[in-house]
């Protein structure tokens, strides 16, 4: 089975019903995607499938075939959201952070507060109370790199 993982065409030999989460973590060695609940409630395993946020614990590999999958590793480390989450306290313990950042990427440019609250409602954070996450996203939205994207 093939999909495009962080921009690279990738072949996976695994059971088609294996959770995408396990495929990423175990077959691909990308452990930035986290498991918080295993039932699609916490969003810690959020990845982008064709640009849309998806709980990787809920979809089997078969559903990801021939799609574009982006994980936190795919952002490279220089994405304005990553920088802003460090600077403004959007990341505390860090376990929800990869999923939260990918869900934030999917919000698109300059999201309103209401759009952030709705778009991130499936991503639980127990540390921040979310305010610092909104601030981080707002700051990243204002950055040049983000405006270009």
């Amino acid at each position: 089975m093939y999909f495009t993982l962080n921009g690279k065409r990738t072949r996976i030999d695994a059971h088609p019903m294996k959770r995408l989460l396990d495929v990423l973590r175990e077959e691909c060695g990308l452990t930035g995607t986290k498991e918080g609940c295993g039932e699609g409630e916490c969003g810690a395993c959020t990845v982008l499938v064709n640009g849309l946020p998806v709980n990787a614990c809920l979809i089997p590999l078969a559903h990801a075939a021939r799609t574009r999958v982006t994980t936190i590793e795919g952002l490279g480390g220089r994405h304005p959201l990553q920088r802003a989450f460090v600077e403004l306290g959007g990341a505390q313990c860090g376990i929800c952070t990869p999923g939260m950042i990918l869900a934030a990427v999917a919000l698109g440019p300059r999201p309103s507060l209401d759009r952030m609250r709705t778009g991130l409602a499936g991503n639980l954070c127990r540390c921040t109370g979310y305010s610092a996450i909104y601030k981080s996203i707002r700051k990243a939205s204002g950055s040049k790199a983000m405006r270009k994207a």
């Binding site: 916490c42 990553q82 306290g89 376990i95 979310y130 610092a132």
Partner: protein, 724 residues
Amino acid sequence: MRRAARAVGRNVLRKEGADKVTGRARYIDDLTFPGLLHARTIRSTIPAGEIAGVRCNFGTAGFTIVDARDIAGRNIVALIDDDQPCLAERAVRHVAEPILLLAHADRERLLSADVQIEYRPTTPNFDPQVSSTSFKIVRIDKGDLDAGFAAADLVVDGEYRVGHQEQLYIEPNGVIAVPEQGRGRGITVYGSMQCPYYVHRALMVLLDLPADKVRVIQTETGGGFGGKEEYPSMIAGHAALLARKAGRPVKLVYDRVEDMLATTKRHPAIIRHRTGVMRDGTLTAMEIDALFDGGAYATLSAVVLSRGMIHASGPYRCDHVCIRGNAVMTNTPPNGAFRGFGAPQTQFAVEVHMDRIAERLGMDPVRIREINALRPGDTTATGQRLGKDCSAIAVLRAAVARTDFNRRRRAVVRTASRQQPALRGIGLSLFFHGSGFTGSGEVKLASKASLALTERGARILVASTEIGQGTRTMHAQIVADTLGWPYERIEVNAADTGEVPDSGPTVASRTCMVVGRILQRCAEDMRARLGGLSPRQYLRKHGPLVITKQYEQPSDITWDDDRYRGDAYGSYGWACAVVEVEVDRDTWQASPVAFATVHDIGRVIHPILAQGQIEGGSAQGLGYALLEHVVMRDGAMANSQLTNYLIPTTRDTPAMDVVMLENPYAHGPFGAKGVGEMPIDGPAPAVINALRHAGFDLREIPATPEKIMKAQISSLKSSVTLET
């Protein structure tokens, strides 16, 4: 070395921030070892009884199986009381008690292994009010209660109840145990945890190993909130037993359901107040009785109760006080540490009670608090005389002014009476929180911290863990400024018992104020020894330099453990929270629509980190007040999954207006006090007081829609004045 711009008070970059936002940070489930086995815990399915037989209905080839007979040392989770077995032998005291451990290389085989346990059940008790087993009794006496009631114009009674609360760190508990091969037979345990030395000691006792044969290394930890204070000692024990028997590394990581079902929660409590008050609002007598449900084993109940009782009379002065607390056993999974540690329960009760007293006096909630709030020179219930670092009045006045509380309270009522019934309300709470271990606790801990000179600067060696709150960053700021070096030149060692001294547990709002101060003393000493030399010059000339200091109690602190008298804490933080709630008239769901809080935490070392503690703790407090309902059925959590145990999402969390006052503590590093726990003490009573303002008389949390609807029905029954 170039003298640095000051780090303290600035938002320097979090030490491990880049790793956390890129996915590079390694949490326990991200690690693997050659030959790794996966593990599974077989747990009791009854709340009380005896194990009559264990049957393994599977081909056991390739499995490692461990029961209590495999324990070389003592079968206990060593902590305070030695009452909790690591694996049940015969007696079972709660559902989900661990009985048997399995390990296998293949997870599917592991999960499909069928184990049958036969029991001789006995009658369980789930009601703390009829429990005959007490883990701890605390009594605090001040003045003469009878004289206090004799001086009162009015006596107000009340009973308040709080439920369990699940810490719900997003990363579940997990460890990996790696056995040492050969004659030494030592063990290394990696894991998600707050207190590596608690785990270290528990493993020594369980495995009968000397200190140098046990090594505990904290991995990046995805939240703790108290839930990874004592439980990691249990799970580390399990993994270590399996690893030693198998001779291979063993990974034991809980899924969410198991974590919620089996691990500790906040103690539920029933708290009764009887308060004497004069017409002018002065408190004359406070009689408080508290019952904490400890669950099946003692864990940390004794110290949770202790902190709860010391905070039970709130931030108020009163000459005549009697506080009686009892933590008892029930046949439910043990309750334990959770941010706030007893204080959220008791301050919920006193703060709701204060609003009811004000109501009886026809007084507003701000006035009654202004009259009675502790001021410098006043004494607490334990007789502690407060110094200049007491800020109760300051935080109250700042919060009232900032939120325009009195005007909004009147305005909300007017708006509400035009519509009907009243669906909006605004309430506040005033609260405090002692920093560090209670009483003589810090002296007994005798924590140590070390600082090693490096070529570039210095390396911090402490057992204090980074669990999201910013330990590494904050410690490095304190050390950098004390040495006068750039923040970037200070490194922080992993919390690895093989390398760092025992700085005590990462709990009790002590990591900055207490451990930070020890590190500051190390840095002061290092600076003096260097004279004017750079680190490189010093190392060339004198060789390695490691400075270790131990906690020293400030000379002005005295405490009597037997009588519960004296200086319960070195210093207190002070805070006021204001919440506006709206109740949906169709669903009876109450939502916080505005939240503001003023916190005095002494000197703020890192404003963004400190504010993050306040916002995150407040959000947990709002969850405690309104959403987080642990449903216990037959002694087990019936909703042990995120689908139906609800924590605040973005949509449930209001915007937060946070103000930090800085009233310094003389013995804290740069004047810092504790910050981690206090924020969770105040939101719940403020929410309930706001609901009271909206016309709902509630005395219990969580204030779920069902309870709010019931409160409305009972007020309709008892009131003929309500407009319909």
